[in-house]
């Protein structure tokens, strides 16, 4: 199947799923109410569909798309099928930024938490770009990311440690679990700008990712501006991940799993896998959010919890499959 046809199919699946996710929710609507919602968007059923559910579904799609794309870029750059957006410490940096903002009582300032999360993610991303220019081997970069992640995690723990208010502690924890509940159109629009820039950078670096298949030295003699493309791919992934973390908290496994669902269909091409990965990520997160909403639990399941519950076993399966291909 060509990458174009695959993407068209995924777009179709995403649209059907999104329509389903907007149509169904905790508050069941009657047929008359659906008609009313379409006729008068400002009627109460219209509010439920267009002001509550639709922005939430679109936010899930946008965040999932960003994570799927960032995951595919990270896997290409690091030449490692088990890499994901969080592997370089960018997510942890975003989490730290948000935690610090909440602990400082900035939650009342509109956009402060999101801004702090994005700033934290971009600071971590900057550190990774500097490291990527110095260390060419993906293994070194991964280890650097592990260290950065652990340090940001330690600082977040420190924020918990020093936080006097149990309310703030609860808010931070809730935020770190990840969610797209109560998002409005403004939140979506706000996240889209850094994501679009990140996606553009990733598109620019795509040819370099293909060349990286043969390793650093072969790529260095390919004639492509590899140093610039490496920096662009890290910056792009950092922007996408940072904006995703800012919009929805820390959501794991989507960026890891999404590329694997589509990689075989594009014959393992690290450039052609990008767009289908983004679409698969969007589908996964819209589905996960729908599952979290409609499961009859006392308290609504957090999005990050749902993705981890499904994602961690999938991760183990992927690892086993990858190990088989390495033995071959």
């Amino acid at each position: 199947m060509s990458a174009g046809r695959l993407s068209a199919l995924l777009v179709l699946a995403l649209l059907v799923l999104a329509a389903t996710a907007i149509a169904f929710g905790e508050a069941p609507l009657s047929g008359v109410q659906y008609v009313q919602a379409f006729r008068a968007p400002s009627s109460p059923p219209g509010e439920v569909l267009w002001a509550l559910r639709a922005p939430r579904v679109v936010a899930a799609a946008v965040v999932g798309g960003a994570l799927g794309l960032a995951g595919a870029v990270m896997q290409g750059l690091l030449r490692n099928p088990l890499a994901e957006p969080g592997v370089l410490g960018v997510s942890a940096g975003g989490g730290l930024g948000a935690a610090a903002a909440i602990a400082l009582g900035l939650a009342v300032v509109p956009g402060a938490i999101e801004g702090a999360a994005l700033a934290g993610a971009l600071l971590a991303g900057l550190a990774v770009i500097v490291a990527a220019a110095r260390f060419r081997e993906p293994e070194t970069l991964i280890l650097f990311g592990v260290a950065l992640s652990a340090f940001a995690g330690a600082l977040t723990a420190l924020v918990f440690n020093l936080s006097l208010s149990p309310m703030a502690t609860r808010d931070i924890l809730s935020w770190l679990m990840g969610s797209v509940a109560n998002r409005d159109w403004g939140d979506v629009a706000w996240a889209l700008a850094p994501m679009a820039l990140g996606a553009g950078l990733c598109a620019y670096a795509a040819r370099g990712l293909v060349m990286m298949t043969l390793g650093e030295e072969a790529a260095a003699l390919s004639g492509l501006p590899m140093a610039r493309m490496r920096a662009a791919s890290v910056a792009g992934a950092a922007l996408l991940t940072g904006a995703a973390v800012a919009a929805a908290g820390v959501i794991g496994f989507v960026g890891l799993v999404a590329p694997h669902l589509v990689r075989g269909a594009v014959r393992h091409d690290p450039a052609r896998v990008l767009l289908p990965s983004a679409l698969a990520g969007a589908i996964l997160l819209v589905a996960a959010d729908l599952v979290g909403r409609i499961l009859p639990t006392e308290v609504e399941l957090k999005l990050g919890v749902v993705t981890a519950l499904f994602g961690a076993p999938l991760f183990a399966l992927i690892a086993a499959r990858v190990a088989r291909s390495w033995r071959a």
Binding site: V210, M212, G215, E217, A220, G223, L224, R267, S325
Partner: protein, 250 residues
């Protein structure tokens, strides 16, 4: 004008001279073999030539221009490189691997160049297969096809025959000779001295980072050099099948 050259080039890694004032010149149309024991600096010499490792002294040039001053695209237009590292990250179709040597051309032309190169290494019927589903030897041939698909006037190949069966080793060197016949310059590192003596016009012998001999095979691998560089007691002998190394350990 020489295709590539080193002038008193030195490379230091962790305080040790891995390449020590090496001089070298490669002309279009010739196959130059770089031989030497493990750790003598063969790979470092190739990497110095390509500007992949900073020089502690001396100069490296490609097509008469200083390597350090070349832009990435200019360097790629002057030299193509087959590194020793053969790890391939993704199971792309074999033809896509070969086509990575032709990224300077539009995709139909790149695909055509890849298929031609694959046919030359005897893999025409495997073009659509995933490269990680193949044996190590087949992967090595696919990577050689990528090198052949380039248009650079200098081909630099690090251990292109390691891991290949005898027939494929001879084929690989034959193909590199064909490229030299077509006017490209070729420099390869090799471990098998008999193969090196037969396939190369000129051999450069390295020992502890220094060029200790540079000349036609019979001259470069004369008994003193075999003794000093390889700790071997013996000589190259002419047989009806070609040159053969007859030697034993000192």
């Amino acid at each position: 004008m020489s295709a590539a050259g080193l002038e008193r080039a030195s490379v230091r890694l962790a305080g040790r001279a891995v390449l020590d004032q090496a001089n070298l010149s490669i002309e279009p149309g010739e196959v130059v073999g770089v031989v030497g024991p493990n750790g003598a600096g063969k790979t470092t010499l190739l990497r110095a030539l390509l500007g992949l490792v900073p020089l502690a002294g001396g100069t490296a040039s490609l097509g008469g221009r200083r390597v350090g001053l070349l832009k990435e695209a200019e360097r790629a237009a002057l030299a193509a490189y087959l590194p020793q590292e053969r790890r391939i990250a993704w199971s792309l179709p074999v033809w896509r691997i070969a086509a990575l040597g032709a990224v300077d051309r539009p995709s139909p032309a790149a695909r055509q160049a890849a298929l031609v190169a694959l046919a030359r290494v005897g893999m025409a019927d495997l073009a659509e297969r995933g490269v990680l589903e193949m044996s190590g030897g087949e992967r090595a041939r696919a990577l050689l096809a990528r090198l052949l698909a380039t248009r650079a006037p200098l081909l630099v190949a690090d251990e292109p025959v390691s891991g290949l069966d005898p027939d494929a080793q001879l084929l690989a060197l034959e193909l590199l000779r064909e490229e030299a016949g077509a006017g490209r310059a070729v420099i390869v590192t090799l471990h098998d001295l008999t193969l090196a003596a037969r396939a190369c016009d000129r051999l450069v012998v390295l020992r502890a980072g220094q060029v200790v001999a540079d000349g036609p095979p019979l001259e470069a691998l004369r008994p003193e050099i075999l003794r000093a560089a390889f700790s071997l007691d013996g000589s190259l002998q002419e047989t009806p099948a070609g040159l053969v190394l007859a030697a034993r350990r000192l």
